[in-house]
């Protein structure tokens, strides 16, 4: 298989190294956050935020910002800002009580996609050199990641993981019992908004590799698989991290060998891991039927 030779060719890794490093950083950030996203049932809001990134990319494109040099920083800022605005709008609409959160997300999601499509269309029409291709925004492009973006992704990873660690106790209390947490001194509004900010940062970083459409897969699949395998909090985080990292690296290998797009390759591998974890649960419960009927 010619692709297999490509996988071990030094030149492949020289070209792909920035993309691979970004993918690893993305895997670490998203896997850790996925535990909170899944347990707090926020995967749909993640979907809303990641699609808002498409609108953000449209705005960046119309402003003429590209991922080259200092433009990468500005582009990142614009997209994160747009995602944050979308997240806060979703929070605000659903907090008012008259519209449910999923309706708010549904509306913001399509509005962002429309805005992004129109702005990208206008920017491509008005330019001689095409901006980022639609396909790479939607499904990711591991080859086009440059070293400036790697540096940015590293800084973002430090901030995201640092904040998640610093606020781990109130975040866990809030995620476990939002009703009672305020009585124990947990600021639930702060925790919700903090998680939204962390999600925005992680999603915009993940978007480079896995694309807008598939970024949320990394915020759901690692924890969903890990929760099927263990019932302890910190082991869930560690297993999710292992699954996320393995999935991303295996996905990149699949992408190189078969010359498939990176985002879908990574997500396919993660889906396979999820299916395996569910199969393991079924197998375990079939072997120990007594465990299911054990009195509480």
């Amino acid at each position: 298989m010619p692709g297999t030779d490509l996988l071990f060719h030094p030149e492949t890794w020289r070209i792909m190294l920035p993309g691979v490093i970004t993918a690893v950083l993305m895997a670490v950030m998203c896997s850790v956050l996925s535990v909170l996203v899944v347990l707090k049932r926020m995967s749909f809001i993640g979907q809303g935020i990641s699609h808002a990134a498409f609108g953000g990319m449209g705005i960046a494109a119309i402003l003429g910002l590209t991922a080259l040099g200092a433009g990468a920083l500005l582009q990142f800022g614009v997209v994160v800002g747009f995602c944050l605005a979308a997240a806060l709008i979703i929070s605000w609409i659903s907090a008012k009580g008259s519209t449910s959160a999923d309706t708010a997300i549904g509306i913001v999601l399509v509005a962002s996609m429309c805005l992004g499509s129109i702005l990208l269309h206008i920017s491509i029409q008005g330019k001689t050199s095409a901006g980022p291709g639609w396909e790479s925004i939607l499904f990711g492009s591991i080859m086009s990641v440059n070293w400036v973006e790697v540096t940015l992704a590293s800084l973002v990873a430090v901030v995201v993981l640092g904040l998640a660690w610093w606020f781990r106790r109130p975040l866990i209390f809030w995620a476990f019992d939002e009703t009672a947490a305020p009585a124990f001194g947990v600021n639930c509004t702060l925790m919700r908004n903090l998680l939204l900010v962390l999600l925005c940062l992680a999603i915009v970083t993940a978007m480079k590799v896995s694309g807008v459409v598939l970024a949320t897969a990394l915020l759901v699949l690692p924890a969903a698989s890990a929760l099927a395998l263990t019932e302890r909090l910190w082991p869930v985080v560690v297993v999710a991290l292992c699954i996320g990292l393995t999935g991303v690296l295996a996905g990149i290998a699949v992408c190189i060998v078969f010359n498939w797009p990176p985002g879908p390759s990574i997500v396919m591998v993660l889906c396979a891991f999820f299916a395996l974890s569910r199969a393991a649960v079924l197998l375990r419960s079939a072997r120990t039927p007594a465990a299911r009927s054990e009195p509480a």
């Binding site: 347990l39 781990r168 106790r169 019992d177 009703t179 124990f184 001194g185 019932e231 302890r232």
Partner: protein
């Protein structure tokens, strides 16, 4: 866990003076809402257990939130250990056992981890849990009789066990006041009996002041020194002995119409309940097959002696 410093002074633990609270317009889906609670005045003496009984929609949850300092803008004055409720909450004076477990039961945490959440309050992010707090957690779990199940995942507990964990979590915050919101919801009769015993024991051992807010008379009758009846306004405030069905019928007659649906009352339970001669000492209600609530007592009040209204 050393008992918290007991308030020996005559100052009440909780003091409400003419408190009225109205939710902001639109906040409760009502264009011009009437107050959720109106002109509430009562005291909870340090070390006593006060039960607040009332129908659903009678303002109990509002009272809980006001006592916790989670609602602001109430008219009148509320003091919790001489401080504003928000201040008292920030100082960790109030241990809260929530109404229905709003917790995510699929959460991969053990009993001990849940109790630890409360004990880690104010702990710097870089610090591990100190030994004294760890001991506090152990003692809280032991007090509620959950030591053997301390490592069990929270999702694998019964309703009664879960409630005990929630009490342990409140105790792990070293409170002076324990505030319980509808503590017997979803718990069977035997479980409620155990709950009453547990609460009495914990209160005695730690010298706590306790406030129980419930619509279920059984949650309150066996546990409390005094009872207040809340249905937007506070109607009654006395020892449980005085809480006869006649009183209940009188104070809730107007307010509960339309709030409760049809209540099927066990004939024997109703008859026992409506006969004042059966009410000796702290009010105890028959643990019959029907959940005997305020509504049941009200419907079988003195107007229908012998529970002529009773069905089933």
């Amino acid at each position: 866990m050393p008992p918290p410093a007991h308030d020996q002074s005559s100052d009440p633990a909780v003091q409400y003076r003419g408190v009225t609270y109205r939710y902001p317009s639109g906040g409760m889906g009502d264009a011009a809402p009437r107050p959720a609670v109106e002109d509430i005045t009562f005291n909870v003496r340090a070390g006593e257990c006060l039960g607040i009984l009332g129908p659903n929609g009678g303002g109990k949850s509002t009272l809980v939130k006001l006592t916790l300092g989670l609602l602001e803008g109430a008219a009148g004055d509320i003091r919790v250990f001489g401080r504003s409720p928000a201040h008292a909450r920030k100082e960790g004076f109030v241990g809260y056992v929530p109404q229905r477990l709003g917790a995510e039961l699929a959460f991969p945490v053990s009993v001990r981890q849940v109790v630890e959440m409360a004990a880690m309050r104010g702990l710097a992010a870089w610090k591990a849990m100190p030994r004294d707090r760890s001991d506090l957690v152990d003692h809280a779990i032991e007090l509620v009789g959950m030591s053997e199940l301390a490592d069990r995942p929270i999702g694998k507990l019964s309703g009664g066990q879960l409630q005990r964990v929630m009490i342990a979590r409140a105790l792990a915050a070293s409170p002076r006041l324990l505030l319980l919101d509808e503590p017997t919801v979803g718990i069977d009769v035997a479980g409620q009996q155990r709950f009453t015993e547990l609460l009495r024991r914990v209160q005695r051992e730690l010298g706590l002041t306790v406030m129980i807010v419930s619509h279920d008379i059984r949650a309150i009758a066996g546990s409390c020194d005094r009872v207040a009846c809340l249905s937007r306004t506070l109607h009654f405030h006395d020892a449980p002995q005085g809480l006869t069905p006649a009183v209940l019928a009188e104070v809730f007659r107007h307010d509960v119409s339309g709030i409760f649906g049809d209540v099927h009352v066990d004939a024997h339970a109703a008859a026992t309940c409506t006969d004042p001669s059966h009410v000796h000492g702290p009010l105890t209600l028959p643990s019959g097959p029907v959940g005997m609530t305020v509504s049941a007592a009200m419907r079988t009040g003195p107007a229908q002696p012998g529970g002529s209204d009773a069905r089933d």
